[in-house]
């Protein structure tokens, strides 16, 4: 059978094909990625788009948690201070209810409790990064203002709105409690009960009832303030979950689009050997034909 007398084009094509393989392997090793262009592995490229989006979302959830944590921590410690202040007021009220205390002493106690009232007002008007924390969603103005015409001595100017923030693909968290629910709830109105205690101390009647009322308000607000503690715990738990998700996503990214170095280097070595062999073949075929031997 007659064979192709000019094998060079074939050999050169084979060499350039091998060179292409070498280039691709080298690029893969250099980038650490097996999918550098969508055509390298279309299905993997599609998955990597989704992986990148999920990773970006997870990172964002972590940032959002960081942003929320500060406000919730502040709210939590403010409510702890409220409880402490209320307990102090209750002690003072019990002291004033004692029959041995004269009216001048009761007036002095009432003045002390008025101080606590002011402290409570400022705690209820807690502001964090320009937002009033206990104002509901009407958070650009102070929720409580002094109002002598009101029986509780204050008026609530906030609303009952609450915000939820999405912090995971299946997780969202309520981030605030409005003042109407914390300080001005019926049966647990902090400002009303403290005002009632002051009034009773000044008049000398109904002090025990007022103390009981304040005790109820204190219990109520303590039960409500658990919300913020819970929220902080949930944020911490979610952070842990998101971290593990980030790790998982990174693993998935590596499985789908990462380089299997051992395999690629082995391919590269094979390709290099093959290229060398091809080039040697070209070099050797170059010089022999019958004309050489006809002398």
């Amino acid at each position: 059978m007659r064979v192709n007398p000019n094998p060079y084009p074939d050999l050169l094509a084979a060499a350039s094909q091998t060179q292409l393989q070498i280039n691709m392997d080298e690029q893969e090793i250099a980038s650490g990625r097996s999918v550098n262009l969508p055509s390298d592995n279309p299905a993997a490229a599609g998955q990597l788009v989704q992986n990148a989006d999920q990773t970006s979302q997870t990172d964002q959830f972590q940032r959002s948690i960081g942003s929320i944590q500060g406000e919730i921590q502040n709210a939590d410690s403010a409510l702890n201070s409220v409880t402490t202040a209320l307990q102090q007021a209750i002690s003072l009220g019990v002291e004033g209810a004692n029959g041995t205390v004269n009216s001048a002493d009761r007036a002095a106690i009432a003045t002390q409790i008025q101080g606590i009232q002011g402290q409570l007002l400022s705690l209820a008007n807690l502001s964090y990064q320009g937002n009033y924390v206990f104002a509901g969603t009407a958070n650009q103005t102070a929720p409580y203002v002094l109002d002598s015409s009101s029986p509780s001595g204050v008026t609530y100017q906030g609303n009952s709105g609450v915000n939820r923030v999405t912090l995971g693909s299946q997780f969202s968290l309520q981030t605030n409690l409005p003042g109407s629910q914390l300080f001005s709830a019926s049966g647990g109105d902090v400002f009303q009960s403290i005002q009632d205690l002051i009034t009773s101390l000044q008049s000398g009647t109904g002090i025990s009832t007022a103390v009981t009322e304040l005790g109820a308000a204190n219990n109520y607000i303590s039960s409500q303030s658990v919300f913020y503690g819970n929220a902080l715990n949930q944020l911490t738990a979610q952070q842990t979950y998101l971290s593990s998700e980030t790790t998982q996503l990174a693993q998935q990214q590596n499985t789908v689009g990462g380089t299997d170095l051992t395999a690629v280097i082995s391919n590269l070595t094979t390709a290099q050997t093959s290229l060398q062999a091809t080039l040697e073949a070209i070099g050797q075929t170059a010089h022999t034909n019958l004309f050489e031997y006809l002398k």
């Binding site: 059978m1 007659r2 064979v3 192709n4 007398p5 000019n6 084009p9 074939d10 094509a13 094909q17 550098n36 262009l37 969508p38 055509s39 390298d40 592995n41 279309p42 299905a43 490229a45 599609g46 998955q47 990597l48 788009v49 989704q50 990148a52 989006d53 970006s56 979302q57 990172d59 964002q60 959830f61 940032r63 959002s64 942003s67 929320i68 990064q129 320009g130 937002n131 104002a135 509901g136 969603t137 009407a138 958070n139 650009q140 609303n159 709105g161 915000n163 939820r164 923030v165 999405t166 693909s169 969202s172 981030t175 034909n289 019958l290 004309f291 006809l294």
Partner: protein, 458 residues
């Protein structure tokens, strides 16, 4: 009985024939590296014998013709494969260029959409914060930019492919003209019974080049060739070539005409076929997908935006300039409609601290707002499609390249010049020439002897 003179004639015919054969070898050796050259072979036949009853004597040898060795069926297979190779290599390189727009970077569409939704999630943590609102506006602007840039790149690529269409049609016209001329040269030689091997080789090479540009069928007829495109548009008939024309459509792209008929969509292979496929099918497909994504996203965001309230408590207005109803050009023209960050409608109740509407907007991230898919799922499908098309075209290209290589190898094994063979032939012709010359010397001696004899007797 044959005479010495006749023998001298016979020996002389050997000298002449071997000289001719040697000339063929010389020409083969000279053309060993000429592309498209088919080796030539002398056709030696015994001359008509002389009958001198009861004996028959041969009268020597004639170099009847010099024929080029080629396989017409193989040639037509090579043409077909060259067309496929031209088509897929053009398509593949176009798609390689297209898909670069869809690799993950800091500014690709997928990343910009992720960042946009991330910025809304961040705003949700503090909806009255102006810098976070500005962050959403910036991210929305980046979404618009990434769509605009990608759409523009696709249009530019389409324009440059269009330029290729015009250039390729020009090349086709040049080649068909060349083939028509060669047809004339071949038939004028063959009509007087001469070998036209060289012109046939040149014509074959022009046809191969033409095949790499367009799907072409070759119909051989007496001493000439007719060429038509795959769908029957004439390119060459005998010595006449038919020029293809290009004509701009209202969109600015050029259609291909033959004899007044628009044959653009019928050209399916060769480089021209590949270019048209990339220009008229692949790029528009991707453009449509981007338009669907851009329009779907803009409309969904806008409808949430108008359902909420801005920082001042006013009802929200469109965040993105509403795309055209058809969605056509949505990606190229996507833009942000507002510049004042306080106009982002994050609030669901009109108070500045409410994030209800920002949450609703964030939820679009996972809702089936683009042809039944979430934005990221849809975009991931776009990336898959372009990657798949590019990968298929590359696979077809390398398969057709390989087949073409094998066919060319086969052609070379039939038509290629082998120096070994030529060296052997040269020795053969040289030996035969020497032998004939020796015979002439011998006859000369015999004649001399005969003349001497007559002198002796005379």
């Amino acid at each position: 009985m044959s005479s010495l003179n006749a023998s001298l004639g016979t020996a002389l015919s050997g000298l002449i024939a071997e000289q001719g054969a040697l000339a063929t070898t010389t020409n083969n050796v000279a053309n060993v590296n000429t592309p498209g050259y088919s080796r030539e072979q002398p056709v030696l036949v015994a001359s008509d014998p002389v009958v001198l009853d009861p004996l028959t004597f041969g009268t020597g040898v004639t170099l009847q013709s010099v024929e080029s060795i080629r396989d017409p069926i193989l040639e037509s297979q090579i043409q077909q494969q060259t067309q496929a190779q031209g088509q897929y290599s053009t398509l593949s390189s176009a798609l390689q260029q297209t898909q670069v727009n869809f690799t993950t970077s800091t500014a690709d569409i997928g990343t910009s959409i992720s960042n946009f939704f991330d910025s809304i999630n961040q705003l949700s943590t503090n909806p009255s914060d102006l810098s976070l609102r500005q962050g959403v506006l910036t991210a929305a602007g980046n979404v618009a930019n990434s769509f605009n840039t990608t759409a523009n790149n696709l249009s530019q690529q389409q324009t440059s492919l269009d330029l290729s269409v015009v250039q390729q049609v020009g090349q086709i016209n040049q080649l068909t003209q060349q083939i028509a001329t060669l047809n004339g040269q071949v038939s004028s030689l063959q009509n007087v019974g001469e070998s036209a091997g060289t012109f046939i080789d040149q014509r074959q090479q022009a046809i191969d080049q033409l095949s790499s540009l367009v799907d072409v069928s070759v119909i051989p007829s007496d001493n000439t060739l007719t060429l038509i495109t795959g769908n029957g548009a004439p390119l060459v008939t005998g010595q006449q070539s038919f020029q293809l024309q290009t004509q701009a459509t209202p969109s600015g792209l050029h259609d291909v005409y033959s004899q007044g008929n628009n044959i653009t969509s019928q050209i399916t292979s060769g480089e021209l076929g590949g270019t048209i496929q990339a220009r008229d099918a692949e790029i528009p497909k991707t453009q449509n997908e981007l338009d669907t994504l851009a329009a779907g996203l803009a409309n969904a965001v806008n409808s949430v935006q108008v359902a909420g309230f801005d920082l001042k408590g006013n009802p929200g207005t469109d965040l993105f300039t509403p795309p055209a109803g058809s969605g056509l050009g949505a990606a190229a023209n996507l833009s942000v409609a507002i510049t004042d960050p306080s106009l982002i409608a994050a609030s669901s109740d009109g108070t500045p601290g409410s994030n209800g509407n920002a949450e609703a907007m964030y939820a679009l991230n996972s809702q089936p707002i683009i042809a039944g898919q979430s934005p990221t799922d849809y975009y991931s499908g776009v990336v898959f499609n372009i990657g798949n098309d590019a990968s298929n075209a590359a696979a077809e290209q390398s398969a057709s390249t390989l087949t073409l290589q094998q066919l060319n190898d086969q052609r070379a094994s039939i038509s290629g010049v082998s120096l070994d063979e030529e060296a052997a032939n040269m020795v053969r012709y040289q030996d035969a020439y020497s032998a004939s010359a020796q015979v002439i010397t011998t006859i000369n001696d015999m004649m001399y002897a005969t003349i001497q004899m007559s002198t002796l007797t005379g």
